[in-house]
Symmetry: D2
Amino acid sequence: MTATLSAESPVSSVRSERIPVAVLGATGSVGQRFVQLLENHPWFRLHELVASERSAEKTYAEAADWRLDTLLPEETAGMTVKKLGAELESVILFSGLDSSVAGEAEEHYANRGAVIVSNSRNHRMDPDVPLLIPEINADHCAAIERQRKRRGGKGYIVTNPNCSTIGLAMAIAPIQQQYGIDCLHVTTMQAISGAGYAGVASYAILDNVIPYIGGGEETKIETEPRKILGRWDGEKFIDASFTISAQVNRVPTIDGHLMTIALSLCNRAELRKSTPIETIIDGIELSIESYIGEPQRLGLPSAPRNPLHYIDAEDRPQPRLDRDRENGMSVSIGRLRPDPILDLKMVALVHNTIRGAAGAAILNAELLDAKGLL
Amino acid sequence: MTATLSAESPVSSVRSERIPVAVLGATGSVGQRFVQLLENHPWFRLHELVASERSAEKTYAEAADWRLDTLLPEETAGMTVKKLGAELESVILFSGLDSSVAGEAEEHYANRGAVIVSNSRNHRMDPDVPLLIPEINADHCAAIERQRKRRGGKGYIVTNPNCSTIGLAMAIAPIQQQYGIDCLHVTTMQAISGAGYAGVASYAILDNVIPYIGGGEETKIETEPRKILGRWDGEKFIDASFTISAQVNRVPTIDGHLMTIALSLCNRAELRKSTPIETIIDGIELSIESYIGEPQRLGLPSAPRNPLHYIDAEDRPQPRLDRDRENGMSVSIGRLRPDPILDLKMVALVHNTIRGAAGAAILNAELLDAKGLL
Amino acid sequence: MTATLSAESPVSSVRSERIPVAVLGATGSVGQRFVQLLENHPWFRLHELVASERSAEKTYAEAADWRLDTLLPEETAGMTVKKLGAELESVILFSGLDSSVAGEAEEHYANRGAVIVSNSRNHRMDPDVPLLIPEINADHCAAIERQRKRRGGKGYIVTNPNCSTIGLAMAIAPIQQQYGIDCLHVTTMQAISGAGYAGVASYAILDNVIPYIGGGEETKIETEPRKILGRWDGEKFIDASFTISAQVNRVPTIDGHLMTIALSLCNRAELRKSTPIETIIDGIELSIESYIGEPQRLGLPSAPRNPLHYIDAEDRPQPRLDRDRENGMSVSIGRLRPDPILDLKMVALVHNTIRGAAGAAILNAELLDAKGLL
Amino acid sequence: MTATLSAESPVSSVRSERIPVAVLGATGSVGQRFVQLLENHPWFRLHELVASERSAEKTYAEAADWRLDTLLPEETAGMTVKKLGAELESVILFSGLDSSVAGEAEEHYANRGAVIVSNSRNHRMDPDVPLLIPEINADHCAAIERQRKRRGGKGYIVTNPNCSTIGLAMAIAPIQQQYGIDCLHVTTMQAISGAGYAGVASYAILDNVIPYIGGGEETKIETEPRKILGRWDGEKFIDASFTISAQVNRVPTIDGHLMTIALSLCNRAELRKSTPIETIIDGIELSIESYIGEPQRLGLPSAPRNPLHYIDAEDRPQPRLDRDRENGMSVSIGRLRPDPILDLKMVALVHNTIRGAAGAAILNAELLDAKGLL
């Protein structure tokens, strides 16, 4: 946290010296996004690249099969990749590790004093690990103190949610905060990039939809939002009480997870007596458009101006047209309308590899920095 | 109807003379499917092709931009297209007309004594027009008598449902018949062919999903199944009482509408007390696999052996792999499992231009023939 | 056996007992096509399935991740997979093995007396191994005698060409036979199925074209047609003398390799003096349409009626519309027109996994059987 | 031309007052790109939007179905669209008009004193209309004087080439300038956006390639480069003398035309005697990487730093990965290697709607401004 930061003034975007950071799992698809988004970051300086034994000691250009549509930053191209487990010098370790190794590796570094900002699923539901979406639950950082105590040092882990969860949780946050949600159905149509570069064979997905995603995707979507929209009571996380039912699909889009949502509000009988559904809908649209949180108040460098965009058109949001709004850091919402069974239905979209993965983690790290937790 | 047909014996598949039929809207995408499926039909002989003024007097090969992946039948290629409104000689008129002209044109021919078997939406909800899925509601043909009376002749209209409705109604029919359905949510992922050849621009759908389909698609899906699964009381149709909420999407697949479904059963509180959900699910899987109806009992030429296929795999059905089962005439179902909010969730798939359009209409015509209604 | 077949080798299409055959590499994409195409084959009976250690001793249903759009034949599903290298009982071994193991394994079985009909590239250019396209060079089977001698037994290997080569060689065969070809440029646009199921990641190819295919694809296309269109002089193969330049691309189509071809004829100066280019083109179109070879003369079960289809339309052939003509066994040609630099240009299409792979091998085996070479 | 511009110093990028410009055909796909690229342009200010009668008098937001993945600029959204033919106040008229109306409309405005910078094909080959690629033939602006004389005023038309032509001409320019080209074969794989938003139906192109593009695409590619790489002799354009043979294809990519090229050099016999082909290739790679022209020398705002990128990788350039280099204004080249028939073969890529259309026109206008021709 810099000296210029105070409760009243936004975070300075000028740094005399940037914080050295590392990327764990740097050659994978999430790792490459980290590398891309950290280029020219005003607060962080990419200092170390870490990957599996196979990549270690190679230059990053040799080790990574760069697949993004911007050029591999030249400076990074020449950096030598370190082996996972090696001693590291960075203050923040961004983890895009595969879940098969992330659990142990993140634990290892956190116990040695590093701040782990992880996109992996392994520690998301740990009882003292914040599952952060800074616009929603920046106050969950309070759990860090307890976690540090457990580890007996200054190291700790924070995580960001599953890519679809982020879209869903952000889309419903203003509704949950205003009315409370009782239950919701969500059907996702997820982009192929969510599975990593080689995760979905073209023969499997061209001219096709696969109504299934492995790794417990539906369970993540059904459980993570309850932690995110719940609260830290000083000792433990208390889940929000709504129920979610998720049905996931892989569709032939490159980036951008689209989802249909239907939900019922708390106290719906009373509520509907007092308020016509159209009035509720108008109010929610306004709440969406005006929604801001800590990242906006603190002026974090990666924060979107508006984390939620309501698009007033009958056929939006659409992945290709809307995923890149605010550099991929905002969630787009549309088609909010009455549901004949529950109360409301709507459509939401999140850029799964930016807001839903690497960008989310970087925003988390910025929050930690701004809150003086590094 | 042939002499060999009786209540006891199946319909003969040998005909001394086939019934002459016409296709209205023969150059469009549904019309082309009609032409394709009627080639070598054992009961029907394609006798007349009808289209708009623009195509009239041309040969079919000139008028139609043939887009199917089988060759245009040679005999048909040389037939001269007649103008919509012209006097026709055929006994059955299959209508693939655009809804902008179907309403009036079908009325015109029905009032002049023709049997209209229509895929268009215009007359589906008319009070004496059957909305047929022969496996489910063959007995709705009873309304034909009343309709004929109204028209004062032997002509009438029968219709098949919207492409998504057919998949949905068939998938839930065994559940509705066994337990009764209280309400259901459905999210569709619909193929581009559902919009006709030029209906979806490639620039609109490549690397994209569009969470909207025009023409009242959601309303059709929310209302048509209630008529189909309802009953004819001798005077009018009585809708089934369940509520449907539909959210539709266009995805970049060529053929095959996939949908996720979540539903609650009638009397769920009592039911769940008496029967574990796993037992209910096992029973429904069996009902799906053994489901048959009039087309199977009558041995109609286009009837699938099994109208419903339950696929016991975690990632099926999939459009490209399963849409062509039983020549595209069966509906595939998978992933039947408990829903944490309602009772059950599952995935269903229908070939939208075969079972969901032209094939459905041809099966309807076969039913009419077998029932002596021509 | 029909009366119209030639006196020397009348092929019966009715068999009292079908020949037992095995598929090597049965779980891969070519292997699955073999299994699909061999179901109900009139001459061959699928008797053994062979794959790597990982699949051995499992049932085929367990071992193979079946990806074709027809159902896995039930009988085959229950067969136990044998390990590559195991002793086999079949007369013909169809090989869809990966080139990393095909070389040695095919040699092994051929030296033990088996007839190997291979789709793999390893032995294609061996000096006594026929590289067969039965319509073009059925007489290359004469090399088998020499190969048997070398191996000291009745076993031998025959191969079919690379998938693109088959399309190219068949498309130019009538031109080569009528005029002789001096040189040709070919640019291919190849479907993803050519790389096997997991060969092309969807992230690599959606909304993209890759101007490269590994495994020496361009070299194969530049060399194999010269052997195919060359001749066996009793001792060795003499290559045809034309030069080919190939540029290959992977495009996001599922099946069907499309290619643009430009070529110059032998003795073009003289030829052009005597014959207008339009006359040459008309003649070649006729040659294409009437082209037949040994498979047609012998009535082989998998032989297309017309191995070459000339499509007289300005925008054809197209992969999705034309790849399945004659069950995928014919090559489609279109847009034959003058080339301002060489003499002619045109477009050709081959179904890469049927005519270009498994179907080609099965036709080869039928030829061997009809010629009494088993 | 601004006062700060001189032969020695680059163009100033600061303007006290920006030049008012109009977009003709503003609602179409090229028109929308113009609107997008002109937002915040340092020299030009979007002042008028012109479209057909159907759009006239509506706001741009109402009239245009905005399809780009950036947001419609707010200021522009509210502008009222003028009718084609109306009197205009702008100094430059960018034309993205359909060729069915462009010919006459552009003539109309040019004869009334406006500077037309057109992307349409109608006047490209006119004898005194420059067909500009500023890096190659900025000196063709000399024809403007003659054209103005003909029109009897200060108005005139300049054009940019067809989208594929731009990629081809830029890719071969350094070779033509260094060695001279004798002839070349090009096969294009063109993105769907080249046909406008509704130009290619998804049903036509998904899982497909169409080996044809209407509107004389092949002829344009065969003729336009000869004008571009030719010279203005003070009276008329003298074409470059090489011959081109083009074969075009539409592939399912969104943006980016990829092409394979094979070419022979002038005096190849002599050349090859004196210089090994590898040396020639190395030299050309260097020429490509160091290639610059007037836009770079003048520091035009839309000029890419390097108009040509040589990518030293066996599988590049690729549309999705490389089309956006330098904001879509550079052409990427790869796989330069010997051709066994001609001399060289290679692959080139151009962003068809930026460098190949709207971006090209804007660069042309910047050139005119910098040269004092407004």
